[in-house]
């Protein structure tokens, strides 16, 4: 409590303590969204820079962890909006038994492209909910929207993916 009050008052040492306490957790959250360790490191620093800048608005009796996660999510979302995002895809992508590896590779490409074409706010919730299997409640708090809206965005993201992938015949062969 005292540490948070010192931080809110602009004490750099208090900020360093908070930084060291929370940097791993903030990084782990961001890397699950942006899926690149280098970018996640930069965004972790950017997150704490935003935290430091807005320290006067932080209430010392508030939840620093939740506040930091919200800011980290916004930083990651800004990155998704502004940059072409490359996602590492595993080599063991499931395909039909005996399927030609070239066909499998083609399908991976289609999925990757379709996913990256989703608007950032949908890609964010789809990544957290469908890939990382994060609870809706947790996503809701991090993004700052209701659980119902998280569900709506996941639903829309799935529908958009379906629309993009169906004409390519990807859906028909999915297992």
């Amino acid at each position: 409590m005292e540490l948070l009050a010192q931080f809110a008052a602009g004490d750099l040492e208090a900020f360093e303590v908070l930084f060291r306490q929370h940097q791993k957790e903030v990084y782990a959250w961001i890397v699950r969204i942006v899926r690149d360790s280098g970018i996640a490191e930069d965004l972790t620093v950017e997150t704490f820079w935003r935290i430091y800048k807005s320290r006067a608005r932080f209430r010392p009796d508030g939840n620093f962890r939740a506040w930091a996660r919200r800011i980290a999510t916004n930083a990651a979302l800004d990155h998704l909006r502004g940059a072409r995002h490359e996602t590492e895809l595993p080599d063991d992508l499931a395909g039909a038994p005996g399927e030609d590896p070239a066909v499998r590779g083609e399908r991976r490409k289609h999925i990757k492209e379709a996913f990256h074409q989703l608007p950032a706010k949908y890609r964010l919730v789809a990544t957290l909910a469908l890939i990382e299997e994060e609870p809706y409640e947790s996503i809701s708090q991090a993004v700052g929207i209701s659980v119902a809206l998280v569900k709506v965005r996941v639903f829309r993201a799935v529908r958009m993916l379906r629309k993009k992938l169906s004409p390519l015949g990807v859906e028909a062969t999915a297992k």
């Binding site: 930084f19 820079w49 996913f115 469908l130 890939i131 990382e132 529908r159 993916l161 379906r162 859906e171």
Partner: protein, 77 residues
Amino acid sequence: MIDKENDQKIKDLLKHAIAPMKDTELRRDLWPQMLRKLDEQSAFANNVPWFDWALAAILSAVLLLFPGTIPALLYHL
């Protein structure tokens, strides 16, 4: 019903295509990087050219001496 099944197929496909991040551990302390950022930003904030300050001072003086110019200035902004 078919829609739900198709949505589920897409979800399964996505899960197979993009695996959850396994390695989410931070490998190094980012505090030195944070300090650099704080220094850069502070240097940037203090690095306003002298003529910008002079311009701001002249403008403030004009506005104080001739308040009637404020609407004209606002109009041209």
